[in-house]
């Protein structure tokens, strides 16, 4: 019996944050909560070596504010600021570009790369009209590296849109007293998802997220 080769699995994870002007009041909270997530993950080697994280922000344009990295190697975090409109199309384009580049890089490290997980946090509806084509390109079955997408919405986020931009699960904050709670709960959910997924070595999505209601995902096939 030959000995199979053992490759460590890695889950490329994208935290995609809406930083449009409506998020401005939550700017500090957003930064603090992201700090907390990274602190917890940075002190849990078995999670941080399983889940590598990148942060993408989007408003009028989309930006990679933290390139895909082993959390252990992240010495400083970006200070996120908010402003502009809410354009989804550019965000989906950037995520797709990054997935291609990041999977190549992780593969070169000798890791077994899992299907990426994209966590989108938004507080409003898209203001651009033609984002659906970019979303389709990202999630097309022909795109071998298409990610799992989990969406979280609060504020004026639209349940129908959340359902459309998710492939795995969509959550709408319906039972939170304020937007702070929504952000903290979402990022805690992200944290728990990564911890649980690290234990099972596959993406494990929570059935429930505190303060959020799960909304149906729209399937087109």
């Amino acid at each position: 019996m030959t000995e199979p080769m053992v490759k460590s699995k890695v889950l490329p994870t994208y935290l995609v944050v809406d930083t449009s002007s409506s998020m401005k009041p939550q700017e500090q909270l957003l930064n603090d909560t992201i700090d907390h997530v990274f602190e917890v993950l940075g002190n849990s080697p078995r999670v941080s070596e399983f889940a590598h994280i990148s942060i993408v922000t989007f408003n009028t344009d989309a930006h990679v504010v933290l390139a895909m990295a082993d959390i252990d190697q992240v010495s400083q975090l970006p200070m996120i600021s908010c402003g502009g409109s809410t354009n989804y199309g550019r965000m989906f384009q950037v995520v797709k570009q990054r997935i291609d580049a990041d999977i190549d890089d992780l593969g070169k490290l000798g890791r077994a790369v899992l299907r990426p997980a994209v966590f989108i946090l938004t507080d409003g509806a898209p203001m651009d009209k033609n984002w659906a084509g970019d979303f389709d390109a990202l999630t097309d079955k022909g795109f071998r590296r298409r990610p799992h997408i989990i969406s979280y919405g609060f504020g004026t986020a639209n349940a129908a849109v959340l359902g459309k931009i998710a492939t795995k699960a969509a959550y709408l904050a319906t039972e939170v007293d304020n937007e702070k709670e929504a952000i903290v709960s979402m990022l805690t959910s992200l944290l728990n998802t990564l911890v649980t997924s690290a234990s099972s070595q596959e993406l494990r999505i929570p059935e429930q997220v505190d303060g959020y209601t799960r909304v149906p995902i729209e399937y087109v096939n």
Binding site: P4, M5, V6, S8, D35, P45, F50
Partner: protein
């Protein structure tokens, strides 16, 4: 502490657990009536699957250690389950000791904004990180000698599992703490152990390539997983290929033994035993009292009584060091007072595994591995005392047939004598 308790005896538990649910539990609570102990409440699935007899047997297992210092070592190194908890006659969990205060140290978790010193136990995961990583968190650097000492502590406990025929299956980053000043370890989640193989237990980053899911986990899997943990601690590498490469660069019997345990040259049954690893590490294995076929090392008071365990009954298989597979249970002719306290189930495992043959005495000092999994258990050792009696109903010849034949002769002789007397009289 009573080996079985009603959940109400623990005191009033808080509404929410003190430690979050994980794996097989609904949460872990501190117990008001037993300070220093934790109640692990099983989820519905585990409650359904758990075998109370196996759990009872596991709870009693440390009693095979006759040397008080060795028993103290085990107690100081493990959160060994202390009592099975029931609710309306149904097993709902166990209580076990909380990590002792000496395991908690001050350290500085990494923080991007507001670093705050924390006082608590350190997961063994951190030992597979380099000294710079430790130092960033104000945890003392660990020299090669320190790491060796930690591994010896770890292997000494693991060896005890193997000696007792226990499959821990969960050797990983998640189930042990370590003390960076004393270089000791503290192992928990022992209640999930089984006597013999059991259904696959997935352990992140510790999956044995030769025991892939859904193959049952057994002592051979334990050898791989523990060797990987020890290898990671010694080499300070995390990925399995890196650990093996680093071990291959090292000289001496320890890296060689670890490499053999990690590969087994493609044959998992060829992996060196934990006892062999202990030997090359210079670890003095814990000396267990001989354990008889039943796996019962002593008798405890029946319900309503309190106090210490009754003295061990005479050993019937003095050369056996761990409980062999019991193909079945039969009544003891000399036992009138109830049922045995720890009858192993037919499947031998907490979650449905089958009993595995124990290592023979030679395993404790020789490289002979324990019997391979899935091999039929060996026949029981020959009966040497009246304590072990044959089944009351058996189709096989009784071992005391000479006595029976002798008895028949006596009866025939008496009957013949009576006939002769009758003939002479009449």
């Amino acid at each position: 502490m009573p080996p079985v308790m009603e959940v109400s005896q623990l005191g009033v538990l808080s509404d929410t657990p003190d430690f979050k649910p994980a794996g097989e539990s609904l949460g872990v609570w501190r117990t008001p009536n037993f300070p220093g102990y934790l109640f692990k409440k099983y989820n519905a699935e585990v409650c359904r699957k758990v075998d109370p007899a196996v759990l009872d047997r596991l709870i009693q297992q440390p009693h095979v250690l006759s040397d008080p210092s060795e028993a103290a070592f085990l107690a100081a190194s493990t959160s060994w389950p202390a009592s099975r908890i029931i609710e309306q006659q149904r097993t709902v969990g166990v209580i076990m000791p909380e990590a002792p205060p000496r395991m908690s140290v001050n350290w500085l978790p990494r923080s991007y904004t507001n670093p705050t010193v924390r006082h608590g136990p350190i997961p063994i995961d951190y030992l597979a990180k380099n000294d710079d990583w430790l130092e960033q968190r104000q945890i003392p650097r660990q020299s090669a000698a320190d790491r060796d000492a930690l591994c010896r502590s770890l292997v000494r406990v693991a060896c005890f599992f193997e000696q007792c025929g226990l499959v821990y299956a969960d050797w990983s980053y998640a189930n042990a703490f370590w003390q960076p000043y004393e270089h000791t370890v503290y192992i928990f989640d022992i209640d999930g152990s089984s006597y013999g193989p059991r259904p696959h237990v997935f352990t992140s980053e510790f999956e044995d390539p030769l025991t892939p899911d859904p193959q049952p986990v057994d002592n051979y899997t334990d050898r791989y997983r523990l060797a990987l943990l020890v290898g990671r601690i010694i080499t300070v590498r995390r990925s399995q290929p890196d650990v093996k490469a680093a071990l291959a660069q090292m000289a001496g019997p320890v890296p060689q033994t670890l490499l053999a345990m990690l590969s087994g040259s493609g044959d998992r049954t060829a992996r060196p035993t934990l006892t062999q690893l202990a030997k090359v590490l210079g670890v003095l294995a814990l000396q267990t009292k001989p354990i008889d076929k039943t796996g019962v090392g002593g008798w405890r008071p029946t319900k309503g009584q309190s106090g210490h365990f009754a003295p061990s009954r005479p050993n019937t298989t003095a050369t056996v060091t761990s409980p062999p597979a019991a193909p079945g249970w039969r009544p003891r002719r000399d036992f009138k007072g109830g049922r045995p306290t720890h009858p192993p189930p037919a499947n031998g495992g907490l979650f449905g595994g089958r009993a595995v043959a124990p290592p023979q005495p030679s395993d404790r000092s020789e490289p002979t591995p324990v019997l391979p999994a899935f091999r039929l258990p060996p026949p029981p050792p020959p009966t040497t005392t009246s304590m072990r009696t044959p089944p009351t109903t058996s189709s096989t010849p009784s071992p005391d047939w000479p006595a029976k034949i002798g008895g028949m002769f006596v009866i025939a002789f008496v009957v013949g004598l009576l006939f002769l007397c009758g003939y002479l009289i009449f």
